[in-house]
Each structure stands twice: as structure tokens, then as C-alpha cells.
């Protein structure tokens, strides 16, 4: 079952006014793999993520997730189906502590509503302490234990990135969409992040990664999709992409010119 398709984009299109930001994009992600999306700035990677996660509606095309059509669903419903994501610029809940951020990430794993919470029914207390315990464990997994009670706005940039990633993992998703998680990190942090992503994959979470750091992408990806001006330029294994003349021309070759 390792090559079962978990996520599939079928002919996605998105226009912003006259700009064709995503053009007829088809691709699929296999379960348990790390798939990366690369492409120059403005290629439409983030827009593609927004289409997949339901943040913005597509002009045409469909998204299938775990065999279900999700393109008309709201982001919260898609998340509840098991898709988590992070943002290119971190979007933590700045006034909440790290632990609270993670616990908020376990929203769909818990149930207490207005009335049960208001009455503080015994089962909500059990649920709450269970949620807290699982969140602590997750923070330990991410080596974030020392920041547990820190308010998010006081964290260093690299830590914020990690917390956002941990918060997304708190959903226990089937697939995790990471938008440039290494942006702004130094080499050591990037290296640590690579290992972390592999460890997340080992938990059984499929990963779709947008990243500019080429060595990292080549290192950890099982498969790579190259976007250019909104369209798919190439798709294949890392070593195939490295050798692909089109890719070298528009993307990797940029530096050499």
C-alpha cells in the first residue's frame, strides 16, 4: 500500500486578475512519502498550497484527499479530515503560550463545547488533562520542552517556526503541508529541521514541502515537483530533477548566469 495516493490535484487553475498564478496543475502525493515543490519566487507554490488546503477557492480543477473530493470544503473541514499546514510567514497565536498553541492544535482531537465547558463536566477535565499530556509529549518530540510556558510572541524566529510545525502535527494529520519551513534558519537549524521532517515522516505522516533550500530538498525528498510561472515544469526523483535541462535553465541555472 506504500504507493497509495493520498492527495491529488486535478487540473487546478487560479487567476489573480490578469495573472494566471496556477495553471492546469496535475500531481499526486503518495502516502508516507516526502514530496517537495520547488520553483522560483512567484511560481505559485504558496497559491497552490492555499488551493489544496481550501484557504482560497480554485477557478477550476479538483482536489482529492484520501479519495474524497475536498475542493468545495472549508479549510476547517479539510483540516478535520487530516490535512495540516504551516505558513510561509509563521502564524502563531502570539498572545498564547507555546503549550496553549499546541493544545489549540488538538482542537479536532477533543470535544468539549460551550455547555460542557461552562459546567466543567468531569469528562471535560479528563479530556483537558489528556490533551495537556499529549501536547507536552509532542513538545518533547520537537525538543521544545524548555519553551512550554513561554508566550509565543517572545520566541526567537527559529523557535516560532518549530512551534508552528509542532502545532500542525498536534492534529495528528495524515498529510502535512510545510511552506518554506527553513526560510530564515541558519545551517544548523536547517539541518535539525531536515532530521525533524524525516522523523515526522517516520511517524506515518505524509509530507508536502515547499522549500528554496536546494540541498535540503535534494536530501530528504522522495519526489520533486517543479513549478514555473504557475505551471508544472518537471516532476520526478531528486537526481532526475537535478539533471533536467529545463529545470537547470529556469531555476538551478539562475545562479550561474
Amino acid at each position: 500500500m506504500s504507493d497509495a495516493v493520498i492527495l491529488e490535484a486535478q487540473g487546478l487553475n487560479k487567476h489573480f486578475g490578469g495573472l494566471h498564478a496556477v495553471r492546469d496543475v496535475w500531481f499526486s502525493v503518495q502516502k508516507g512519502k516526502i514530496k517537495s515543490i520547488i520553483g522560483p519566487n512567484g511560481a505559485g507554490k504558496t497559491t497552490l498550497f492555499n488551493l489544496l488546503s481550501g484557504a482560497i477557492p480554485a477557478d477550476s480543477g479538483r482536489v482529492m484527499f484520501k479519495g474524497e473530493l475536498i475542493s468545495s470544503k472549508k479549510p476547517y473541514a479539510i483540516a478535520a479530515l487530516g490535512m495540516a499546514r504551516t505558513y510561509q510567514t509563521t502564524r502563531l497565536f502570539e498572545h498564547m503560550t507555546v503549550l496553549e498553541n499546541i493544545m489549540a492544535g488538538r482542537h479536532i482531537k477533543t470535544k468539549a463545547g460551550f455547555i460542557a465547558s461552562a459546567l466543567r463536566l468531569p469528562w471535560t477535565l479528563r479530556e483537558e488533562s489528556d490533551c495537556k499530556k499529549k501536547s507536552r509529549e509532542l513538545l518533547t518530540f520537537f525538543s521544545l520542552g524548555e519553551f512550554i510556558d513561554e508566550t509565543a510572541q517572545n520566541l526567537a524566529f527559529g523557535i516560532k517556526r518549530k512551534v508552528e510545525c509542532a502545532r500542525a502535527c498536534a492534529l495528528e494529520p495524515d498529510i502535512l503541508l510545510l511552506d518554506e519551513p527553513a526560510a530564515g534558519l541558519n545551517i544548523y537549524e536547517t539541518k535539525e529541521l531536515s532530521q525533524l521532517i524525516c522523523r515526522i515522516r517516520d511517524l506515518g505522516i505524509t509530507i508536502l514541502l515547499v522549500e528554496h533550500d536546494m540541498s535540503m530538498v535534494m536530501d530528504i525528498s522522495d519526489e520533486i515537483l517543479v513549478l514555473n510561472e504557475g505551471a508544472v515544469l518537471a516532476e520526478g526523483l531528486p537526481r532526475e530533477i537535478q539533471k533536467n535541462p529545463d529545470v537547470i535553465r529556469v531555476y538551478l541555472g539562475e545562479d550561474e548566469c
Binding site: A55, K74, F93, M103, F114, S117, T124, S129, L171
Partner: protein, 413 residues
């Protein structure tokens, strides 16, 4: 769960008793009236604190929800429903004005539609009669009337407020920032206008002669001198319950979801939080709190006037929440009790409304996070703790004969 969490609640109860004792012993019982009224207004403010401070959604229409509770309760417990109860179905169709006669704008409704509207009213009132919801009373001229019992009216009033909050909230909460402020402001104005233009609600005169609300045994909500102390406690306990419920919500999964929505609505959505549902939930809850305050206060005051529906009242609630620190329930409660009490005692005179507007402006300019913040308190505690520790250490060393030179002098050397 955590005992320390309930510490402020215990302090509240202690203060409740202490204040009562002090007032009773000093013979200043006239203060009870304003404190009791402040308790009820504080309930409105707490709801708004959840909505604004935690979920980050503003409402400039909460005087509207307060008024729905108060006016519905006053109307249901003072209006004579006997003509509707005793009218036959035939009469309902033929002489609808008998039913709607007290509604001035009824004349604007075409007769046939009016007749159809009469059906649910007759049904509703008839059903209430079957369940014994009506009690006899007297109107201002000593004539016998049949009105809703306060307890039955309570349910109808609160359900009305909840229903209207759902209807308003659903479209309005899709808006953000000042669009939401304007939409809720509009709602407040509409409620105010309806009250002003409807005979059923007493038009500009409001509704008076609201009867006492008998709870259990000798406990009754009314403004009589004899029941002043009892009513102080009743209001205090109702506020206490609202406080506990709010504290529970804030410290729960729901409170976290609300703060997440406040922090970043899109990110909250990407975690599976249905923002609309939670925003609506807290909006309805805050409307319910406002209506509860209205329902009980109208029995305590025995009357309700149009000034309660005014937009300025909504602004007042918002400014109290802002000054109290938005997301600190206890700060907001302290601020509300203080300001409402001072305002009700009339210390601001004719500058009352200006004063509250001023508070809003000053808070926004200089203390955007409110006056009572935990952080401020923590800084003070930390500083005093450090100071005392240093002094204790110094004294200990001095006892051993070690004298510390002033640090400054050290540096000079």
C-alpha cells in the same frame, strides 16, 4: 482541577459578605441599591469581555440585547393578556386589532397578513394558558389583568434574546473590524427605534409597575426597602454564577478556540476550528448574559426606560471592557463595579456619558491593553519580592557584623 483558579472567586464571595457587613454596620444601606444595580450591569460587561477580549469581536449593540431581555420581561409581566386568552379563534381572524391593537405600526401591516400573524400569537398565549403561565395582577388603574408569571416570562425573554442573537449574529459575524462595529451599532439603533415606536413597550415612557419576581421561599427580586440586603446577595450570587461559568469557558477548549480565532482566524481554521461557529456561540452567550441582566434588573428597578436602549449605553459597556483590560475577567469586573457604582451615585452629574466616552479614548490612547493587567501586577510583585529579599539578606549579614558599603561608593573607588 486547580484550587488556585478559584481563589479570585473565593475573594469575590469574601468581599461580597465584607461589603455587606460594612454597609449594614455603618448604616449606609442606601449604597445597596447602586451596588446591586452595578452587579447586574457587570453581567453585561462580562459577556462583552468574552466576546471582545477573548474572541476579538466587537459589539456596539449590547444595550440592544439588554433591552430585549428587560423590555420583554417587563411587557410580559405587566401587559394584560386576558383579551387574547379569552378571544375565540373566530375573533382572532375577525378582530385582529384586538390582539395587535397595542402595536402602533400594526396599522402598516395589511389586514390579511395581520390575521395570519394573529394565529401564532393566539396559539402561543393559549399554550401558555394551558401550562398555567399566567397570573392575575392589577394595572395602574386597579383593574384586574392576566400577565405572564415572571418565571415563565424569564424563559420567553431569554429565548427571544437567544433567537435574535442567532439571527443577527449569523450574517453580522462574517464582517470584521469596523464593519462589524457598524453593523452591531445599527442593530442597537433598530432595537431602540422599535421600543420607541411600539405602544406595547410603552413608547417614550417605558414600562413601569413591573411586579416582584418571587424566587424560592422569602427570596424575591424587588426594589423594596425591606428586601434591600437580600437583593444585594441575590444579584451578587447571580453575578458570581456568571463569573464561574465564564471562567470555566475561558480556561477550556472553547476558550482556547476563541483566543486562537482572535490571534489568527485563518490559522485557527487550518487547525480545524470552525471560526463562525465559535464566534456565533460566544456572541449568543454574551447576548444571553446581557438579557439575563436586563430581566433581573427590570424586576429590581420595577421599571425600564428608553435610556437603557440608547447606543450610548453600548458604548459605555465597551469602554468598561476596554478600560478593564479586555481579556482579564477580574479586571473588567473590578472596573465595571467601580465605574457603574460611581456613575449610578451620580458623581459624574451631567457629564456621565462624556466621562465614559473619555475613558474609551484615554484607554485606547495610553493603555490599549487596559488598566488591570496581570503583567503589571506581576512586575509589582517581582519588584517588591526582590526588594524584601535584599533587605532580609542585608539585615542577616549586618547581624554577623558584615557591613555593606553602598554599591555606588564601591564603584567610585
Amino acid at each position: 482541577m486547580n484550587i488556585r483558579q478559584y481563589l479570585p472567586a473565593a475573594v469575590f464571595l469574601g468581599a461580597l459578605v465584607a461589603v455587606q457587613l460594612v454597609i449594614s454596620l455603618t448604616g449606609a444601606a442606601f449604597y445597596f441599591t447602586q451596588i446591586t444595580m452595578s452587579f447586574y450591569y457587570t453581567i453585561v460587561v462580562i459577556g462583552l469581555c468574552l466576546l471582545m477580549g477573548y474572541a476579538g469581536q466587537i459589539s456596539l449593540g449590547h444595550a440592544g440585547f439588554f433591552s430585549i431581555g428587560a423590555y420583554m420581561q417587563a411587557m410580559l409581566t405587566t401587559h394584560d393578556f386576558s383579551s387574547i386568552i379569552h378571544s375565540s379563534w373566530d375573533e382572532v381572524f375577525k378582530n385582529v386589532s384586538q390582539i395587535f391593537g397595542t402595536v402602533e405600526w400594526y396599522e402598516l401591516i395589511p389586514e390579511k397578513i395581520g390575521a395570519i400573524l394573529g394565529i401564532p400569537v393566539k396559539l402561543f398565549v393559549g399554550l401558555g394558558d394551558i401550562f398555567g403561565m399566567f397570573v392575575p395582577g392589577t394595572d395602574g388603574f386597579g383593574n384586574g389583568i392576566l400577565s405572564y408569571a415572571p418565571s415563565a416570562a424569564l424563559f420567553i425573554s431569554l429565548l427571544t434574546a437567544i433567537g435574535i442573537a442567532c439571527l443577527i449574529g449569523l450574517p453580522v459575524l462574517r464582517l470584521k473590524g469596523h464593519y462589524l462595529a457598524m453593523a452591531t451599532l445599527g442593530f442597537g439603533i433598530i432595537i431602540s427605534t422599535i421600543v420607541f415606536g411600539t405602544k406595547l413597550f410603552g413608547e417614550a415612557d417605558g414600562i413601569s409597575r413591573v411586579p416582584a419576581f418571587h424566587l424560592v421561599g422569602p427570596l424575591s427580586i424587588n426594589g423594596g426597602m425591606a428586601d434591600r440586603t437580600v437583593n444585594y446577595y441575590i444579584a451578587g450570587i447571580i453575578l458570581f454564577i456568571v463569573l464561574i461559568v465564564s471562567m470555566h469557558i475561558v480556561a477550556s477548549r472553547v476558550g482556547r478556540a476563541l483566543r486562537a480565532i482572535h490571534g489568527n482566524e485563518q490559522a485557527a481554521g487550518s487547525l480545524g476550528i470552525n471560526a463562525m461557529r465559535y464566534k456565533l456561540g460566544v456572541f449568543v452567550l454574551s447576548a444571553l448574559f446581557a438579557a439575563i441582566a436586563g430581566v433581573f434588573l427590570v424586576h429590581y428597578n420595577g421599571s425600564i426606560g428608553t435610556s437603557e436602549t440608547s447606543v450610548l449605553k453600548s458604548v459605555r459597556y465597551v469602554s468598561i471592557v476596554a478600560a478593564g483590560g479586555m481579556d482579564s475577567i477580574w479586571g473588567v469586573v473590578a472596573m465595571s463595579m467601580g465605574l457603574n457604582f460611581v456613575s449610578l451615585r451620580g458623581y459624574f452629574g451631567s457629564f456621565d456619558e462624556i466621562f465614559f466616552a473619555l475613558i474609551l479614548v484615554v484607554t485606547m490612547l495610553f493603555l490599549p491593553r487596559g488598566l488591570f493587567r496581570k503583567e503589571y501586577l506581576e512586575v509589582v510583585i517581582k519588584k517588591t519580592r526582590r526588594l524584601t529579599r535584599r533587605m532580609v539578606l542585608k539585615r542577616k549579614l549586618e547581624k554577623k557584623g558584615i557591613v555593606f558599603a553602598n554599591k555606588k561608593k564601591d564603584d567610585e573607588k
